[in-house]
Symmetry: C2
Subunit: 198 residues, 2 copies
């Protein structure tokens, strides 16, 4: 296997083990077992467990950020752009459940420069969503845009705790449901919609 494919393989295996057992309970020996690589083979690619966690988080985040920018650029309609972001985020993570859990659950496990770099990436991604929210509803204040962006991330990221991609609910259907809730809420009646606005 070429060198970069072996690293990809190692990162995927490590993400699965971190997701299942937790980062702090996992040893390099566990990762060797799960990846089928030798300890020496793994240390050829990374200095240790924290570098693996860093690479999983950074690569996954770079991919989701690039994908979101492309998805959003397909439309100029604000509501459609917001839906495109949500649909991309949900379907991407439904395809990368282990990485999603690691990103969500092990956010505090990085330290130093790696933690700082991830915070910057996350901030850029949050700002992108908050801007889309603001374009979709121009009545919102900056604070309201920020809170709604975090609430939407909660709605989407929490999926790792309950969703099974191999179940009856397909990722695209899940994304549809999350979009409908995010754009229009639970309410059925227009009067309730108007009364509760803002």
């Amino acid at each position: 296997m070429p060198s970069d494919l072996r690293l990809d393989h190692l990162l995927r295996a490590a993400a699965r083990v971190f997701a299942r057992d937790g980062y702090h309970r996992t040893s390099m020996r566990d990762l060797a077992l799960a990846s089928g690589m030798s300890l020496a083979g793994m240390y050829y690619y990374v200095r240790g467990k924290e570098e693996l966690l860093t690479l999983i988080q950074e690569r996954c985040f770079d991919q989701v950020m690039d994908g979101a920018r492309v998805a959003v650029a397909q439309s100029r309609d604000p509501a459609e752009r917001l839906q495109a972001f949500i649909r991309h985020h949900v379907t991407f993570f439904a395809d990368h459940m282990a990485e999603m859990k690691v990103l969500s659950h092990e956010a505090d496990s990085l330290t130093g420069n790696a933690a700082q770099a991830m915070r910057s990436k996350k901030k850029a991604y949050s700002t992108l969503l908050a801007d889309l929210v603001g374009k979709a509803n121009t009545e919102l204040t900056a604070e309201e845009r920020r809170v709604r962006a975090y609430a939407l991330f909660g709605m989407m990221n929490w999926i790792y705790t309950w969703y099974r991609p191999d179940g009856a609910l397909k990722p695209a259907e899940l994304a549809d449901q999350v979009c409908t809730l995010a754009l229009h809420g639970i309410s059925l009646h227009e009067d309730a919609h108007d009364a509760g606005r803002r």
Copy 2:
């Protein structure tokens, strides 16, 4: 301090340490230091760390469940009942951020009977929310009610990752914003509202 107050004190201190450092990285010795109790004093109340985690999660969940039932019973209007549930959940957890993080983040750390008991409690609580969602929008299928309930829990529980109760945004204002988003979504325009309706 009377015995039951000392246990309350120990549970609060343990929740703070578990929230800050993670359950698996915390020892009984760390908890003794944080609570100001001796190891022998702690073992008078609990058999060990897992029983502390169990008690924190069970007590917190029983409180939030009882509070939700009372809050919901104040109205007969479906949208108001749904809002009352959300408002109660958000404000309760804004007042119990450490316990909230422990409930969300250490859900998988319980084992055996304690894990089973918590799963039952969570199922009853999820079912309550899914029923309220179904009453607020009678067009939803059972599956859609279930997915929306999980999405709402995500929106609310994710708060532990970003919200600071001592900041400018007060818990009651946060609850208002989450209610508005949950009931009516981001959309501004009625036409968008109608186009995306399921």
